[in-house]
Amino acid sequence: MNIIVCIKQVPDTNEVRLDPKTGTLIREGVPSIINPDDKSGLEAALVLKDKFGAKVTVLTMGPPQADLALREALAMGADRAILLTDRAFAGSDTLATSSVLANAIREMDYDLIIAGRQAIDGDTAQVGPQIAEHLDIPQVSYVEELELVDKSLIIKRAFEGGYFKIKAQMPCLITTLTEMNTPRYMSVSGIFGAYREKEVEKWTIENITINKETIGLNGSPTKVKKSFTKGVKAAGKKYEVDHKEAAKIIIENLKEKYII
């Protein structure tokens, strides 16, 4: 069984702070992490590897620094890692990104493709389903549980009011939620192995067959017209008093606002 896990390296938005004066993001020192939904997808793949001996390939499109995310995936137990990195890919929107990823996947054998539901920096949730469409395979998104029973996938698919229990045949693509599992840590031997025994394969546009007009900034149907930060709200009053005094201040304010 061949599983391809698509991951994205993202800034840890939990650690991102806002400059209170300028309203801009302070990106300095913010660690890069594997997008949480993707990491749960990787864990799901590794569980299948543990149980059934699947071969797990991790795939990402990104700048050369995304190497670190792939090393981390290798250190967790992935067998193979591919970094799609080329200036021609830069500026791709979700449709263009999904084209690049789908065409890279066409170069490989696969039974199951796993992508995280959405990335915490973009929050679009589009790339997974668009890959499935390019490859003309079924998709199941919002996956909370996954089991392999007699070559079929039994899936719990979440929606706002509950869940569907779905049976899907492979090949197919699923998008995973962090609720699905708690990803394992990297292991010490995995980390050493990720640098000393395994490699991250670097693929450029030369490694895939793709219409250059459908990728990159120019090949993307959507364009960012402008981006802006929301205005900074004026800070309210701040008190450094003992807790009893603080409680009184709070109650007074609530009375003023007619909340109590």
Binding site: S189, F192, Y195
Partner: protein
Amino acid sequence: MDFKLSNEHKLLRTMYREFAEVEVKPLAEEVDETEEFPVETVKKLARYGFMGIPIPKKYGGAGADNLAYAMAVEELSKVCGTTGVIVSAHTSLCAVPILEHGTEEQKQKYLIPLAKGEKLGAFGLTEANAGTDAAAQQTTAVLDGEHYILEGNKIFITNAGQADIYVIMAMTDKSKGNRGISAFIVEAGTEGFTIGKKESKMGIRGSATCELIFENCKIPKNNLLGRVGKGFGIAMKTLDGGRIGIAAQALGLAQGALDETVTYTKERVQFGRAISKFQNTQFQLATMDMKTEAARLLVYKAAFYKDSKMSYSKEAAMAKLYASEISMEVTSQAIQLHGGYGYTREYPVERMHRDAKITEIYEGTSEVQRMVISAHLLK
């Protein structure tokens, strides 16, 4: 000269921190309070390869190096001194001597399960009347056909009772002094081998520290580790390596206390300002940070020397001596900056200070380290 960590060491640090924060830190207070050995934590450590970091993969280890090992003990000790010493004693004092001195058969039988973390290791040298004076061993091993018969007691043995495999020093020929000491591998549960009194300690309270009792304890002749009469050398070499682990433990405790203090001083308000805004606090923190970083350089240097197959006995002694002494200073200053709260068990710094004290004592007291360093200087 390169002070930059390699990519793998950087990634290891990320993983160690995440593991320590999530799996170890939340239990540290309880482990200290109850004096209970953290069995479940050790299982998790095993799963991720912490129990055989510098052991080659072919013997079940992670195939990493001593720097990776020291960093692991550092990061674990930053949040829990007990967990740090469990890994250190197991690795440096049991797995490593079997790796370095064991026969292939011994490695297959004992090293592999140790390195995988399936079995826990311990080391027995100290006796009631043989502490710093290790040569005054009274435990004896007498060859009787295919067996050695062990008689005697060991005290203050880390991981005792929890461990499955023990490296034990005993006199095979009292007349030869140091040269009459030999090393043995003893399995828990061997007839005639029992665990005595468990110590109640000032710090590292979750680590099991007990007496080992050997009464007509019969072990196979093949469990002799190294050659007859070479036990003292094995013990000294083992302790050289062990000092890197203990130095890393001391370093971690200092760093942990410093981190807690930085956070606290930013939160604690006195005279209408966070106390971190006062110059006294700032200067104290600067000194604590500088000493901790100096200790780190010594610890990493000793690990690097060992990895480079260079003589590291003096470096390990310096690392252990300096790291343990600044660990006491930094953790004490951390309590001072926490004020009254720091003295209470509400905050972890008093625990770190209690944990730090032992690093000046075990695996060679500070005085022994000075002996080792000056001996190198004056030879």
